[in-house]
Amino acid sequence: MIDLIYLILPEIVGIALLYLKNAFHSNLSSKTVSYGAMAVTLVILFLGIIFGFDGFNLMISKAIDFSVSFNLNGISLPFLFLAVLLPILVLPSYKYDIADRDLTFNALLLVIYVSLIAVFMSSNLLSLFMFMEISLLSAFFAIFLWGGDGSFNSAMKFLIFTQISSMLILTSFLMAFLYTGSFSLSSIASLLHGANSMYLSIMLLLIIIAAIIKFPVFPLHVWMPGAYYDSATSITAMLSGLFSKLGGYVLLLFIVFLTPNAVGYFSMPVMVLAAISAFYAAFVALSKKDLKLMFSYSSMLYMSLALMGMMSNNPIGIEGSIFLMVSYGFISPLAFVLTGYLKSQAGTTDMTKVGGLMKKLPVFALFFFIAIFASIGVPGFSNFIGEFLVFLGAFKFYPLLIISIVSMLIATGYYLSSIKMVLFEKFLGPVRKLRDLNGSELIQAGVFSLVIIILGILPYILLNSINLGAV
């Protein structure tokens, strides 16, 4: 058995090393430290999956039941897998857009890494909240320190919205504490059933609003285009791949474990909102000629579908939404990583200014095809399973199904347009030699695709790790 604490120790050691290195002006490369720490974590995760995980509990304050305690619940493993693997896969992209402040960046990277991992395995709501705050604050710095023009305002908007969302989450957590006297996930789950439905509904509503902000879902998505567009593309990959899952994870905790009886009240209205959001995101993405913005709104489209699945309040929809979140958590970063690569080669992410890349960059084109086909739900890629299950779960609400199906059709339209503009026809970009993916980028895109394909062909790997009955 592997103690869960081992998943965060390497990063903490890494952060300490980085601090010491700075203090003593050592020659140690900060990249080595952070990459090493992440690699060790990955190994520990796999060891843990093979030998099983052991809980960890450290009481900090008995009075407010604040403990740092790690314990896997029935839905955390898929997210943990994403949180451990994705940041490692994004690593090769940083060299394109993270030019300065090497030490700061690597330290921040480790902080983000450790806090996200800790969120998904925390079994104490207060410690979950604390780690979530650390991660979001670090994301704020990551957005504006390495972003483009206007990244400060975007980062600020991101911070304001996520802080509002966090306050809602905290309020809901406190309501749980007031009723049960505990922050522990398992004891809340068993004690909260007695609360009156009004109380539970308010708790759930707060979380739903918070999740709508964090996903993001219309109409509280206004922070998204700025934060996604102005960040360095590799940071955008992290934002859309991982940070957008935080709200969904917390909401799932409430839907599945804490307030399952209150979900019925919100099922219909929230699903309607999700369908509208998917529809809206699809049409906005259709009008975007910038690849980065198009992928940003696509990410919103799929997160809306995920919200729809989990609010359908049946196992197929819920597991489908988890699958969709994890699956798109790999697909959308792949799309952003490729966008970043395009920017580094062609100097632009404007689709109308490139073209014919299939001839110029055949390997890039292959992975671009994979990212697009995976997104539109081609079987064999992971999103197909997620979309199928979400639609199946939402079957009872079939008018919504029609709206989301239209959205998917629009998505197919703009994705195919992007292939046409970026890969097909004649090359329009600057006359200079373009370098195709090779070395670390090739491995990166290859592993991304491999994960997407493996999850698409053997979905039970992920689905079997979900147990909706285990807190």
Binding site: F283, P379, G380, I410, T412, K420
Partner: protein, 581 residues
């Protein structure tokens, strides 16, 4: 074991992807693997003759729901597998000649994917697996249509094809979801045998969605516009797409779920749609001057015949026509491809100018076009016998007109192109002759298989007065075409112009691009709203506090210090936690 049929083409894909012409030419990989799948499917056809074997595999479970993939082996499915692999093999052999100068690996990789998708589709007995292959076929045809992606026409045609077929794909998925939510099983055979448990409303919805899926895949009204544009693909791709794969899968879907359609009562909608399709496609074929485009419209026409058979409770008649059609249509496309390679044009009047009335060209063309027209004793005649078994008297009357039109446009092509002989000797490639000769032979003698087809799949046919009339009308079409088109003169050109002005609108390109523009415009409106929404929130936030003030504060101070402080803070907190304070 049934999935073994699928395996060779998958292996071919993997081999082509990884060895990339370094060790082995990719066309040899594809051809040998296609041969292997022909062998395997023939052996299985023999082994499983008159049996009905289903093999289930659990894909994944959610709660009590099992998502199974399953394969089926019986006469119907394995016969289709044999036909698909045979036609694919012949077309791949032809490709050696046709694609000599092109990028080989990509072509053979995508062809292998295309063929394996169709093979998988015909042997799957689980809706989800059926959908998987159905969609893979859309994607691979998209990739193949955009093979010459640098041409704008090709990239547009590919996009058009995928979007229009995607409407069908999504309908199919929705239909599957409706059935699964009601029956709890994904098995096609189990669903078909438990139709009575499904409420009528859901039954109608599912059947209607399946029909839409089939219409879009088989390029029937109103979806037919994607197929002629798909001509931008290499001709070998068209040959495959028009005969044994892609468009055939729509009809095949209707054939295997025909009990569902009959139980739901939705079949009354198929008949008018097929009739519209038949006339529209015939007129458009009469109007085209491009060999491949004429053949494309003829495919739409022939598929509408099959839909007619399904609509008249005769799915096995449709199946027989489907198989016969696969043979003569692939023959015709290969001929068109041969002419395109040798003379560099698809325009029938330019081809006429080359003077290519040589037996080696016109004999197979005559065989193929006579089959298409339904002239005895070629394939089409027998296919008509099976097809029209359940036709009512009024439908027979309409069908005779359709036969006349089909025959007219077929022989318009023939008499226009093969007009005189003035070319020198043309050296032909062996890999081009073998498939054409094989398919021609099959088109001459294959029709007689109708007489023992009954021992494989129950089928009704009758050689009655109607059929005699039908073949006389077909011959009449031949003579009319000879009279009208053999000696091209001014009146023909005038007629042609007149036709163009009338039928040109039937492709409704204008309406399609208008709806595309409307969707884009709506998207623009939503986008504008999105911009306003963003601005409104900016206003609110700038009212509540001045962003630029904070910005100045932070940027004037030493930022990295701030971050270091933050990180150190985190470390201290963590250290405290670990220490258990």
């Amino acid at each position: 074991m049934i999935y073994l049929i699928l395996l060779p083409m998958l292996v071919s894909m993997i081999l082509i992807a990884f060895i990339k012409d370094r060790l082995l030419k990719s066309h040899w990989i594809a051809v040998s693997m296609a041969f292997l799948s022909l062998v395997i499917s023939s052996v299985f056809f023999y082994l499983y003759l008159s049996k009905n074997v289903v093999e289930n595999f659990n894909w994944f479970n959610i709660g009590s729901y099992a998502f199974q993939i399953s394969f089926i082996a019986n006469n119907l499915h394995l016969l289709m597998a044999v036909v698909v692999s045979l036609i694919s093999l012949l077309i791949l052999i032809f490709s050696i000649f046709y694609m000599k100068k092109e990028k080989q690996e990509r072509y053979y990789f995508e062809m292998s994917l295309f063929i394996s998708a169709m093979l998988g589709l015909v042997i799957s007995n689980s809706f989800i697996l059926f959908y998987v292959f159905w969609e893979l076929m859309s994607i691979s045809s998209y990739l193949l249509i955009s093979f010459w992606y640098e041409r704008e026409t090709a990239s547009n045609a590919a996009k058009k094809a995928l979007i229009l077929t995607k409407i069908g794909d999504i309908s199919l998925l929705a239909g599957i979801i409706i059935l699964f939510a009601n029956t709890g099983t994904l098995s096609i055979s189990a669903t078909i045998s438990n139709l009575s448990t499904i409420p009528q409303g859901y039954l109608v919805a599912a059947a209607a969605l399946f029909i839409i899926a089939a219409l879009s895949k088989s390029a029937q009204f109103p979806f037919y516009v994607w197929l002629p544009d798909a001509m931008e693909a290499p001709t070998t791709v068209s040959a495959l797409l028009h005969s044994a794969t892609m468009v055939a899968s729509g009809v095949f879907l209707l054939i295997i779920i025909s009990p569902l359609i009959y139980a739901s009562g939705t079949l009354i909608y198929i008949l008018p749609i097929s009739l519209i399709t038949i006339f529209v496609s015939s007129f458009l074929a009469l109007d085209s001057v491009d060999t491949k485009r004429i053949l494309a419209y003829s495919t739409i026409d022939s598929l509408a015949f099959m839909f007619l058979a399904v609509a008249t409770l005769n799915p096995n008649g449709a199946l027989f026509y489907l198989i016969m059609h696969a043979v003569f249509k692939s023959l015709l496309f290969l001929l068109a491809g041969e002419l395109l390679i040798l003379f560099g044009t698809r325009n029938i009047f330019k081809l006429r100018g080359y003077g290519i009335k040589k037996p080696i060209f016109y004999v197979p063309a005559f065989i193929g076009l006579s089959s298409l027209a339904g002239i005895p004793p070629f394939l089409g005649f027998f296919a008509h016998a099976a097809l029209s078994y359940n036709f009512s008297a009024s439908l027979e009357a309409i069908f005779v007109i359709a036969t006349f039109l089909t025959s007219l446009f077929s022989f318009r092509l023939f008499f226009t192109v093969y007009h005189e002989d003035k070319t020198e000797k043309i050296r032909e490639d062996k890999s081009a002759i073998i498939p054409i000769a094989t398919l021609s032979m099959l088109s001459v003698i294959g029709g007689f298989s109708l007489f023992f087809f009954n021992s494989i799949i129950p089928i009704n046919y009758s050689f009655d007065l109607f059929l005699v009339l039908d073949s006389i009308i077909a011959l009449l079409g031949l003579f009319a075409a000879y009279y009208l088109y053999s000696n091209r003169d001014a009146s023909y050109a005038k007629l042609d112009k007149k036709l163009k002005s009338i039928f040109g609108r039937l492709t409704y390109d204008g309406a399609l691009s208008a709806s595309g523009i409307a969707v884009t415009k709506f998207g623009g409106l939503v986008d504008k709203f999105e911009g306003l929404l963003g601005k409104a929130f900016d206003k609110i936030s700038s009212l509540s506090f001045d962003l630029s003030y904070v910005s100045r504060e932070l940027q004037s101070g030493d930022l990295s210090n701030y971050v270091v402080i933050f990180i150190v803070g985190v470390i201290i907190v963590m250290a405290l936690m670990l220490a258990g304070v």
